[in-house]
């Protein structure tokens, strides 16, 4: 393969990985937009989503699409539950208390999962015959990658529709812009916050199931690194911005693929965090972020 086709091939790999980051980053950015919390437990929610998908496929013998939907629904409910139990009582507490609680929830989910499903990695059943790959010219796209593109695309369009056009979506934007005034409109801010956690967690669950399908292996600590990477993606895109989360996720995925493809995969993670440092130094509001002016 010549250099250019290698570039295109890495681009395909990068967009696959980046799509997963985007799905997780959307939840990060939505929750941040609405209660200004960096939900460090979000990566672990994604892990739980992967496990629910795994059990649905491996134990209940379901197909990938029913498994995906079941995982999204149950993980969405888990997200609402976490918010209700851990974050809601701290609504008027200083933000640092929320952040520390999020780290606590993260550990809780990780070690509770080890207790219930054992720390041993599980092998995700093969959904696609991995020898089947599609050749587009000289480039190779496999079934898993096509599934990732398609699901991410559909979910992003669906989310955009919900946020822009539906009543709950408008309420989410209003609460995110000015919670108190939203309440004066008759919006129940607690319900909107709960819905935001639910939707964000469901998207992370989709990412978890797709990663299981893509990499075949899941374990209780699998959420830590992608959780941090998705955080980088959300900051890169501009935290609080939905298009920012998707674009940030894709850019991060592509950069990681290029670094592993052309330099060495050992530098992959370093590249992601170097991006975080650079963004924070030179453009803290990210690509799509509004300038971070404090409201008076």
């Amino acid at each position: 393969m010549d250099f250019m086709s290698q570039v295109v091939q890495q681009l395909i790999n990068g967009v696959s990985l980046g799509s997963i980051y985007a799905l997780i980053a959307l939840g990060y950015t939505m929750v941040y937009g609405i209660i200004k919390l960096i939900n460090f437990a979000h990566g672990d929610i994604y892990m739980v989503g992967a496990y629910i998908g795994f059990f649905a496929v491996a134990n209940a013998g379901l197909g990938i699409f029913p498994a995906l939907i079941i995982s999204m629904v149950l993980t969405g409910l888990l997200g609402c539950l976490v918010e209700r139990v851990a974050y809601k009582p701290l609504r008027h507490a200083p933000r640092i208390s929320l952040l520390i609680t999020a780290i606590g929830v993260s550990f809780f989910l990780e070690y509770a999962s080890m207790l219930f499903v054992s720390p041993t990695p599980r092998t995700f059943p093969e959904i696609f015959d991995s020898s089947v790959a599609y050749h587009i010219g000289e480039f190779i796209v496999n079934g898993q990658q096509l599934l990732i593109f398609a699901i991410t695309f559909v979910l992003t369009v669906l989310l955009t529709y919900i946020v822009q056009k539906t009543k709950i979506g408008k309420a989410m934007r209003a609460v995110s812009f000015d919670t108190e005034t939203a309440q004066l409109m008759g919006i129940d801010a607690n319900r909107v916050i709960s819905a935001t956690f639910g939707i964000g967690s469901a998207l992370a669950a989709a990412g978890g199931v797709l990663v299981g399908v893509y990499y075949n292996s899941i374990d209780p600590l699998m959420g830590i690194m992608p959780g941090l990477k998705a955080f980088v993606a959300a900051v890169l895109g501009g935290i609080g911005s939905l298009p920012g989360a998707v674009v940030g996720g894709l850019i991060l995925g592509v950069i990681e693929a290029f670094v592993s493809g052309f330099l060495s995969s050992t530098f992959r993670d370093a590249a992601a965090f170097a991006i975080l440092i650079l963004v924070l130094l030179f453009r803290p509001s990210g690509i799509f972020g509004r300038d971070a002016q404090e409201k008076v």
């Binding site: 934007r173 209003a174 108190e180 005034t181 409109m185 129940d188």
Partner: protein, 237 residues
């Protein structure tokens, strides 16, 4: 006539600060009542407590005979009270249309919402011209109109207005106040908080003067406007 809104000796705190120290007031159906007083007297705090954003520690608030004190904000809107907050607080990143739709959030009667949307556009024709525009691009006066239109979209029986004259040119203030009178004539009861006591007393039926968390004076708006005490303290001599 029976009191539509009755506030009975409420005490409100911001943390340790005792902001409202036993305020009682009433608004009768069909009236414009104004609450005047200097900065920090507790005017906005009183409105925020009525709207359910703050809970009174003591005392009670009755709306049409029913206690609403301490109920969540969304219930208060459903009960028939809406507020135009201080500083307008429009949703700047959303369109004029979306702002109005949010005003009708608590309703599900599509026909009624449609009718009120027409009413708002009739009252504020400039909003119709700008309905697809981001609300943040409107001028100060237009934003005040949007905030009022948005509050009317919940079809309130009692409208709370917090400093509608703030930051507006005198001509615009006059326009806004004449619209408030129109809204009142069309059947909506109004509780108006103002620092611009002159304007407020000129359109109100009755008035209360708030001083550091307590009602200092109350009575007929015309009489208060004429009284020596009020003239000295609030009307600039």
């Amino acid at each position: 006539m029976a009191d539509m809104l009755e506030i009975k000796d409420i005490h409100v705190y911001y943390g340790a600060i005792h902001a409202i120290k036993g305020v009682s007031l009433s608004v009768r159906q069909g009236e414009i009542v104004t609450l005047i007083g200097s900065n920090g007297a507790g005017k906005s705090t009183t409105l925020r407590t009525i709207s359910g954003l703050l809970k009174p520690k003591e005392g009670d608030i009755l709306f049409e005979g029913e206690s609403i004190a301490g109920r969540p904000a969304q219930d208060i809107v459903k009960a028939g009270i809406s507020q135009v907050p201080e500083g307008r607080r429009i949703f700047a990143n959303m369109t004029v249309m979306e702002n109005l739709e949010l005003g009708a959030f608590s309703r599900s009667d599509a026909d009624g919402i449609e009718a009120d949307m027409h009413m708002v556009f009739k009252r504020f024709p400039r909003l119709l011209e700008r309905k697809e525009q981001a609300a943040g691009t409107l001028s100060g006066g237009e934003q005040q109109m949007l905030a009022m239109g948005r509050a009317l979209m919940s079809h309130p029986r009692l409208l709370l207005l917090d400093e509608p004259s703030m930051g507006l040119a005198p001509l615009l203030i006059r326009e806004i106040f004449s619209i408030i009178e129109d809204i009142n004539r069309a059947g909506t009861t109004v509780l108006l908080v103002e620092q611009n006591a002159n304007m407020a007393l000129s359109i109100a039926h009755r008035a209360y003067v708030l001083e550091t968390g307590r009602i200092a004076l109350s009575g007929d708006a015309k009489e208060l406007a004429a009284s020596e005490e009020v003239r000295k303290a609030y009307l600039g001599g």
